[in-house]
Structures are given as C-alpha cells and as structure tokens.
Symmetry: C2
Subunit: 327 residues, 2 copies
C-alpha cells in the first residue's frame, strides 16, 4: 500500500517549485511583498479516522482549528485568516440539531483568542469531513523550517508528549487510566493548545522546527531527513505526564510517547549557545521546554536510547494515514 | 432542514470582518501589499454528490481544479497557487491502482495551462473527498464582486448554459440524448473550462460578476441580492446547445438551463456603454458572450420571461447542497 509520503512524493511533488517553500514542510511560503511572506497550510479531520462519530462538536471545532494553528506555530508564523470546508451528513444539519452551533462556538472561541478571521469556505453534504486552510504572515526569510538543523544542535520539545495517545488507548480499552488521571490526557487529545507564541519567539533561536502531529520519532525524523543530519534522543528525558512515566515498562506506553502522535507540541533544534535564552523563554511563556537529545553528523537517522544507554528498536515510528492502525 | 446559505449565515458569518471582502462572494480578498490583493477560495467535490464513484480520475483531477479556478475567474483574479486536501478510500491507494496517477495527471494538465503551482495539501484516509484551495492575485480595488450591479446594466453570460445538467439528466436516464449529442454535453459536465482570461479582461468593463455553479437563477440571484437590485432575463435569449434548445418545451429542459448548475460560465453585468467592447472581447477570446436581460431598480428579485413575454414560475431555483436533489 502507498504511504501518505509515497503518495505526495510520487504523484504531487514536483521539482520546479517557484514558491519560496513548496510541499514538504509544515506550511508553504510565498513571497507577497518586500519583507513579508505568507505561510499557508491545510489539514483535514475525518470522522472515524481522526475523531469518533460521537465526538463533542464544540471540542471538535477547537481541535480542527488547533491542528492547523500548530502548523503555523511550527513555522514561527502569525496565523491571520482561515477558510473552512465542511462536508456534513444531512443528519447534522436538521433544524433541531445543535451540532453546527456547538462546532462553530468551539471554532470561534479559539479563533478569537488568536484574532484569526474566517474569510471563506465551502459547505457540502456527505460523510463528515472537516478541512481548514490557515494563512499566516512571517517576516521574509525568518520562517522556521524543517531543514535547518545542524550538527551539535540541542533537540528540544515543548510541553509533555504522549498524553493524547494515552487517552486514545484508554478510550480503546487498551490501557486503563484511573479517574483522576483521565482529565489531563483527555484534554490533550480533544483540545490541544497550539504553541503559536512559542513558535514566533523561537525565530532567531531555533535552527529548525516541526510540530508533533504524527509522533516524535516520525516528526523529528522529518527534521533529520530534510536537514541531512542524524540525531540521538534519550527516552528518560522526554517529558510526559506521571501516568505515562510509570507505565514506560510497557511497550504500548513507549509507543504512546514516541509514536502516538496528536501531541501538537513543537520539536525544534537550537545551538547550545541559546540554551539559557530558551530556558528563560520557557519560564516567561510558562511552557515546559526540555532538551531531549542532540543532532549528529551523518544521515543514519534517529537513535533512541533507554535509561541504560541501550538503543531501542522502533517498530512503529509514526502515524501514517494509510497504515493498518485504526482508531 | 438548514440550507447551505442558512448554515453559513447562521453559524459562520460575522459582522466585524477585517478582510477587504470576507464570506459571501466567489472568493475572499485580503490586502497583502500596496496595490495588491489576494483572492482566496475553496471548493470541495464529494463522491456520490458531485461525481459518481466510477468517475474517470483524470477528468476528476481536471474538474476539481476547474471549479476552483472558476471562482478566481469570477473575481477577475489571476490564480497562482493551489493546495489539495485529498481524503482517499484505502482501495484507491493500493499499489496496483492507477487512480492517483490519473487524478494528478488531470490536475496538473490544467494547472500547467494556467501556471498554477501546487504548494501544499493533506492526504488522509476516508470516504473520497476532494478539497482544493486556490489563491490568486488581483490589483487592489479591481476585483469583480457580486455587489456591483447597477440599474440599467445589461446582464450577460459567457458560453452556453445547461449542457452539464443535460448530460447529468442523460446519465440518470431522465432524458435520452442521441449519440451524436452526447459528447458536447459530457465534456461540459466532466471537463468544464474555467473562464480565467475572460474574468481578467472584464475588469473595467463589468460592474459585477459571479460564476454559475449552482444554476443561472440562483447565481444571478446572488448578484441581485448583494447589489440590492432586481432583474429580468429572457428565456429565449439564454444561450444553449441545439439539443437543449429543441427540448425547451419540457420542464426538465428548462430546469437544466435555468437551475441545472455545474455550468462554470460567468454571469456578469455591465453598463450599456460597454456593449461594443464586450462584443469585441467575445470575438478576441473566441468565447460567446450573450446579453440575456437587464438590471432593474428595486429589490423584487429575478423575473424570467418566456418567448411570449409571460413570466415563468420558478420552482427549483438552484442547487442547494442540502436539498433533496440527489445525483
């Protein structure tokens, strides 16, 4: 079966890009005026694939926009405008239904927080499919790219990882979280917080950045591949909730942390010389920023070491939309 | 049931738009630099709703882009960049499948003809859903809007109308076209030609414009409503293929012409003083441009008169994605 990356590379990526940055980063960049660039991205959430059919529509409105804002954060761009293409089953548009009211309330609550204007869209009937396009601005030449990592850079992540995946595994009945543990994990899954301020403040500090949507190993892998470098990270250093930490003897918990995806945190690389500034930024923004490894020379990919410095074998390295994994 | 327009107005349209032109035209306009604006639009094609499941993927690639380019044409904008969000059933991404290869070939053949660059997108698994976002440029203040029609303007349409609807009715078994008649109609349905050059050349000539996607009566109705005017058109003057003309005694044929939709021609209004220039433009671009009526004062909506000057009663005034009409 063709993977998502196969599909893009085989059928849709072309060599002769005239945009500043075309397919293959968190957003495309186009030059619009001297000194200014637009960052443009699109993300789709499909019912039964990215969310359950009975998902809370308010939270879905939030998350649909949040995953798109996360792409802007990864570029260091300021999101400005959004378009919303909704494909809706007829049952959801009956007059007595409140689905649309709740969905739009969740969407606009997040949009208003970031002064984002909904400028257009399309509404069609069919199986539930939520597509958003987001357009942001960034100073020319300043956007954070996947391709800028350099040997000896520190590898950093924001927030904690694996919480959303843990919540999903709980929902699927594969892990049993105690009641007291559920809230944090469920809000990571249902209402992720895009790291927009962080992304913008990392301009000038970070050499490269990506948002973690497919899982740390897969997304950090994109940085390494685009930058033609390799890297090493330490499992014990990856920040996660205590409820995940205590389960890290289980392979499924390790999978949640490294490859669960849906984190919408930023993974970025930065030179050692900026360590202190980045630590100060963490305090200022009240967002944990944690060093988890470093960039190495060569193109051997990513090494993950456990607490005993033993290299882990990674079977599931990330979320592929056409892999066998279902949810 | 909520109509598409109800949904947009009730849940997604807001008063305090900061964009130059937000929700409610063929594209949104945002100011990006002194003298320049971006026109941005998105359109989705849903399997089973906008096309049959066994549709030729090459033609589908063409049409998916064409319907978006038609929105740029209606604004007088030059389309420049596109994003493609594809939701694909797993069966279509099997290695032996040629669907993606054919789809991308159809997409790029049209994109290349207009120097449009695919700069991004998203690929997810799920029921087939094709969403494209198109971004174009237009000189500041020059875009053709729905809201510019003025009393005494001529009402014009490009090309011929009703052909795509006739082909669809043939496919559905409601009208039997002879073999010799089918080709023209099927190509109108499957590979519409967006009127980009025409749209750009209408800047300075037309007061208002829209592309006819939902049917002439519905789309011209949007111009009248946005412009706070009314209008009259003459059925006998509306250009259509001979195979439709000879059937105009049948209500279904009249429906195809007035409300069939999927035409992707432009409907525009222009002052009398530009008649000669518009006729010259038709010859230069080799596109029929036909006067079908005129704009009147008042807000009584649209009157359609038959060959005997009798006012027609219009039951089905346009395509609504949540109406009972299925295809």
């Amino acid at each position: 079966m063709n993977s998502e990356f196969d599909i893009i590379h085989r059928y849709f990526k072309r060599i002769d890009s005239r945009a500043i940055l075309g397919i293959g980063d968190d957003a495309a960049l186009i030059n619009i005026a001297p000194g200014a660039e637009l960052a443009i991205s699109t993300d789709t959430l499909v019912c039964g694939r990215h969310f359950f059919a009975d998902a809370d529509p308010n939270k879905l409105g939030h998350k649909s926009l949040a995953v798109n804002l996360s792409d802007m954060a990864a570029m260091g761009a300021e999101p400005r405008w959004a378009l919303l293409a909704l494909t809706l089953p007829e049952a959801l548009v009956q007059p007595q239904q409140t689905w649309l009211q709740q969905f739009s309330a969740g969407f606009f609550a997040l949009a208003d927080r970031h002064c984002i204007e909904l400028i257009g869209g399309d509404t069609t009937a069919g199986p539930l499919n939520i597509n958003i396009q987001i357009i942001g601005t960034v100073d020319a030449g300043q956007a954070l790219r996947r391709s800028g990592a350099r040997p000896d850079d520190d590898i950093w992540v924001s927030g904690v990882l694996g919480s959303a995946a843990l919540a999903l595994q709980h929902e699927l009945g594969n892990i049993a979280l105690a009641d007291a543990e559920i809230d944090n994990c469920m809000s990571a899954l249902l209402t992720p917080v895009p790291r927009i301020d962080l992304g913008r403040r990392l301009i000038g500090l970070a050499h490269s950045a990506i948002d973690i949507s497919d899982g740390l190993v897969a997304d950090l892998g994109h940085i390494l591949e685009s930058s033609h470098v390799s890297g090493v990270i330490h499992l014990a250093d990856i920040p996660c909730l205590p409820q995940l930490k205590i389960r890290l003897t289980q392979p499924l918990a390790v999978h949640c942390l490294l490859a669960g995806g849906d984190d919408y945190e930023l993974c970025f690389t930065a030179p050692r010389v900026h360590r202190e500034q980045i630590n100060k930024l963490a305090i200022e923004l009240k967002i944990p920023l944690t060093r988890i490894g470093k960039i190495l020379i060569g193109e051997e990919g990513l090494i993950v070491k456990d607490a005993h410095d033993v290299v882990l074998t990674l079977e599931h390295t990330g979320y592929d939309h056409f892999s066998a994994r279902s949810r």
